[in-house]
Symmetry: D2
Amino acid sequence: MSHNTFGHLFRVTTWGESHGPAIGCVVDGCPPNIPLTEADIQPWLDQRKPGGSRFVTQRQESDTARILSGVFDDGAGQVTTGTPISILIENEDQRSKDYGEIARAYRPGHADFTYQAKYGVRDHRGGGRSSARETAMRVAAGAVARKVLGESIRIRAGVVQLGPHRIAPDAIDFGAVHDNALFAASTAVAPEWEAYLDGVRKAGSSIGAVVALEVTGVPAGWGAPIYGKLDAELAAALMSINAVKGVEIGAGFGAAELSGEDNADQMRMGDDGEPVFLSNHAGGVLGGISTGQPVTARVAFKPTSSILTLRQTVTRDGEETDLRTKGRHDPCVALRGVPVVEAMAACVLADAMMRHRAQVR
Amino acid sequence: MSHNTFGHLFRVTTWGESHGPAIGCVVDGCPPNIPLTEADIQPWLDQRKPGGSRFVTQRQESDTARILSGVFDDGAGQVTTGTPISILIENEDQRSKDYGEIARAYRPGHADFTYQAKYGVRDHRGGGRSSARETAMRVAAGAVARKVLGESIRIRAGVVQLGPHRIAPDAIDFGAVHDNALFAASTAVAPEWEAYLDGVRKAGSSIGAVVALEVTGVPAGWGAPIYGKLDAELAAALMSINAVKGVEIGAGFGAAELSGEDNADQMRMGDDGEPVFLSNHAGGVLGGISTGQPVTARVAFKPTSSILTLRQTVTRDGEETDLRTKGRHDPCVALRGVPVVEAMAACVLADAMMRHRAQVR
Amino acid sequence: MSHNTFGHLFRVTTWGESHGPAIGCVVDGCPPNIPLTEADIQPWLDQRKPGGSRFVTQRQESDTARILSGVFDDGAGQVTTGTPISILIENEDQRSKDYGEIARAYRPGHADFTYQAKYGVRDHRGGGRSSARETAMRVAAGAVARKVLGESIRIRAGVVQLGPHRIAPDAIDFGAVHDNALFAASTAVAPEWEAYLDGVRKAGSSIGAVVALEVTGVPAGWGAPIYGKLDAELAAALMSINAVKGVEIGAGFGAAELSGEDNADQMRMGDDGEPVFLSNHAGGVLGGISTGQPVTARVAFKPTSSILTLRQTVTRDGEETDLRTKGRHDPCVALRGVPVVEAMAACVLADAMMRHRAQVR
Amino acid sequence: MSHNTFGHLFRVTTWGESHGPAIGCVVDGCPPNIPLTEADIQPWLDQRKPGGSRFVTQRQESDTARILSGVFDDGAGQVTTGTPISILIENEDQRSKDYGEIARAYRPGHADFTYQAKYGVRDHRGGGRSSARETAMRVAAGAVARKVLGESIRIRAGVVQLGPHRIAPDAIDFGAVHDNALFAASTAVAPEWEAYLDGVRKAGSSIGAVVALEVTGVPAGWGAPIYGKLDAELAAALMSINAVKGVEIGAGFGAAELSGEDNADQMRMGDDGEPVFLSNHAGGVLGGISTGQPVTARVAFKPTSSILTLRQTVTRDGEETDLRTKGRHDPCVALRGVPVVEAMAACVLADAMMRHRAQVR
């Protein structure tokens, strides 16, 4: 993770601002001979595309990804060549006038102030580089990572808490995520949650949420301790997503209330002669190395900072002012965060797989 | 963060196993001309030293650090030279016989199984490389990082939750941490907590905890978005500590229940003509860049997995067995995690400072 | 230097194949507030553009660079923002039919065989990723690096040996490089060299050459020993250029014949009170750190491997065949290597400057 | 290559000064289950040990390496565990008084001036960190790398030019290197060379040399273009060795005088059904990827800068003075460079092997 590149061997570099001509990424180090076309990428992008429902920003973007390099069709279908894969999405809807006032005033909760403080200059249009629009490229890269991982590894995420509303742990059903507009991991909660979020939206407000992640099929042995632990790399990748304020692995903060007897996952031999764990408080990671159990995590998203209520702030010139963030926005940014969480997990795991097979044949 | 090295410019590489002849670290990239002797390192090591109270492992180690390179005294006192600083601690108490049984059986909750699964071989003595003993070198490196950061930056951590017992947010007092044997951030709770933990200890059990971190004096502008965000790097550094299962920045998981109005920190101009924030739900980080507010985080530690209760497990040879972890251990590993949390924060911040001044003069 | 990214803090990632839709680069870590437009990049690209004279490939490319991110004009002219700078050049002339035969047969001296051996697949069109076309993006990145370095640092290269013809060391004049079609560092040799190279070209053959590099204005102190030595990083950067087979710093291989008395540069105090060196066999680098003297290097280019003479080779299917490389090519690839050598030096130095100021204020 | 660490997956970090208490290295990322004891390392160290003949420095060091971590004997012999391998050599002969004068004056040709210019402080004793003593740890790390590579890969180097004396290319015999005190790749030249070097030594002078490297057994496919090319990584690794001023791959600078017909290595099918090259001007690398041919390089060493002749220099305080470097030194530093060249090649290749198998199964 270094500036705008992440990963060690499966390396992703993203670029682009919210209102520039385009955004893009370069995926470097990808293994060769993996079938890959735009059709492998677009469905994942469509999941986080703006304008999909009344619960996400109404910015109009088709988010059509083009692959510009790193693939070749030698007659048997287009495959990766092992060279860098450049993916580009043109920005179509760049209504900069919506954002005029924020050229001067810092939007509370946004990165306007900190970018200005750090760099002494910023592209204020739509948040520039700090816009969640950047996450589209994470999703594109994640689509490539999924191809590298193959179908035996299944990565799923869903909203499990929306403001004060929670899905009970034993009611979480990742199969329900794409059956409701809120990406909720339960069809049962959807009606109540939709009504709640409609209220939030109509009030011009916003609300935070928690996204849960579950990855099955990861074999025991991935992760590079001590400082490349699988959970540490996941934590960095997930915390780097816009609006994320917390990451848990397995029992997470709940582990702080557990005794050693209740927390440590006991083991027995499975029917296939492989060790099995009788529980998974570890979230599939022990000592920074995968156990073979599902890798589980939870990610806390703060509420969208763009709201219609007038808020106190200051300008670049040091004047106090009050600001209302007009324009398009999401009442709950976590919804579109679901495919991003999955994508970051995919990238971390593809990288871990490659690192593991480099060191251990 | 790459295998056993972390940091980009202020880079720390650690090595050594629990029961090998020594453990050590190499701190590379340190700025020159910073006064540094063993006396700058030892006090921090003494904070996490085994045997300090009845609440920590009774392993006998003086944990005396020696600096083997990277410093020079040209007549005006010993200073760093800009070359790699090698620090070494000899292991004194290597009672390997205590650990005989675990050569075969995997201790539940420990990394025995995953190290074996990954590498096909492991140093089982005291957990080998996965032992918390490694964190001594993080503390040593953190001591160097503190010297790089200087005295204007103050890094403090303390236990704020012990199992079911919590310190109310407005009662947290980092000044109290070193006035009680539990590193609790409140003197008021100490007697009750000590009694509670004595019970846990006598039962041969263990309990989880939460450690809070607060860093003051960090100027606005540190952090390297998008993938070197200050909070992402903190998350990785903290999650890499043994037994950590969760990391929050600022409001953390609490932000999931907040509205945009309640969460986004409003701004006003301070008396000194600099912007001030009216709250700090952001935890001192917006868009991955420091705001100038205190950087705050919370870290969840699972309970020590070594307990006296008989637990179900399997052996390397695929046999089911029951195991009781005899030998020395901590009833709450988070206590000795307090200086480690501080040290990791120090290293992350020294690195962020150097990266910032590289890019922005 | 890692796969398709080079640099530590001033980081350049390139992508694209010779006959794909486009080639591009991402320059990450660039300091903010540096004036930068396409007009700063294009002149350098024009120097290595195909079709410039009869001595370079007749492929028709305008090589027009577009900046897609990382810059912003807030009213005072377009400047860098500290975010990644994406630069893209569309490929216009993709006459793939010229390259039909090489889909099967490996061109001697080219990377066809090794790409196939490594990846099991390759984009054979025009050499794909291994084409010298990639060096256009190095030149674009180098243009950005020059802006970072500022005008006090002057980077110049020129051809000093063409096959058997050499310019005497004391006759090298970098001021002459852009006054002749051969980028020769001497106007005197140009007529003879042009006649010689015309002969090579008309024979359908090619010839090797040596390019010399001189950088003035580098202050003493840049370079990051032991493994980030300035000369080691220059060596890697220059050796990574297509067709380069050798790199010398200062006296280079000539130093093997010198005695200690003749080689070691003596010192005296200059009129300005700063130390001066009485010679520069070191090439401006001692112990991997710049001395303040001009940084000098020499780079050997092999002859273009694409020639009209029939050569023995084998096919992907293991059949022996004879191959003549038709199509456009350069009789001396080193000519277009001159701006590439300069660009790589610029990138290495910008990176070294930033690394130095990170560690030493 | 970053400050004091090199390698991407097989990573070596070295530390220590010439006259500090010890020098050492940490080898990280090493595959597990490779037999490794001190006995695998010591023989290579003995090759570059001081005091071996009258042609090398008379400093008395046993250079005994101790492995402090990363290995374990579980009953079947000591093997690597996949965790960091720490190797330490204590400095025994630290006659600091020999070096008193150079605390003030900069030795011409040494890094005294540049270390002081960069860091504002330096350990002047014996050159501190810039001493060739550091290369002992490269040799130790190289010994581990050899074990990773296995016996099918053979790495050999030898002196092929000593000042004005050269071994004809077709007379080079790496088998002769350890049969003469000069590490010359020919027994025939040894008597004349020894007489010549005795003269140099008795005159208190020194002379440069060229070391040739040949690695056989490298399969086709290693190397990570474009910026992790095998030859670029070799160039950096070799140029980082003390006193090296030039690196050639294959035909090297000689390629500048070749035509395309003479340079490009033609191919035919071998008896085993694998492609073979009819020559090896490429030095075993095309497009940055190994061809399966021997990897060949040549490395130019400057003469030792420490000589008995009085030389002009300046002091740290800006005074002009004349300096004679007393004390122990080598008349030709390249001799002890032979095992270092081999060691760096071993480390680069082990890293390339691991990177290759990470990307391509």
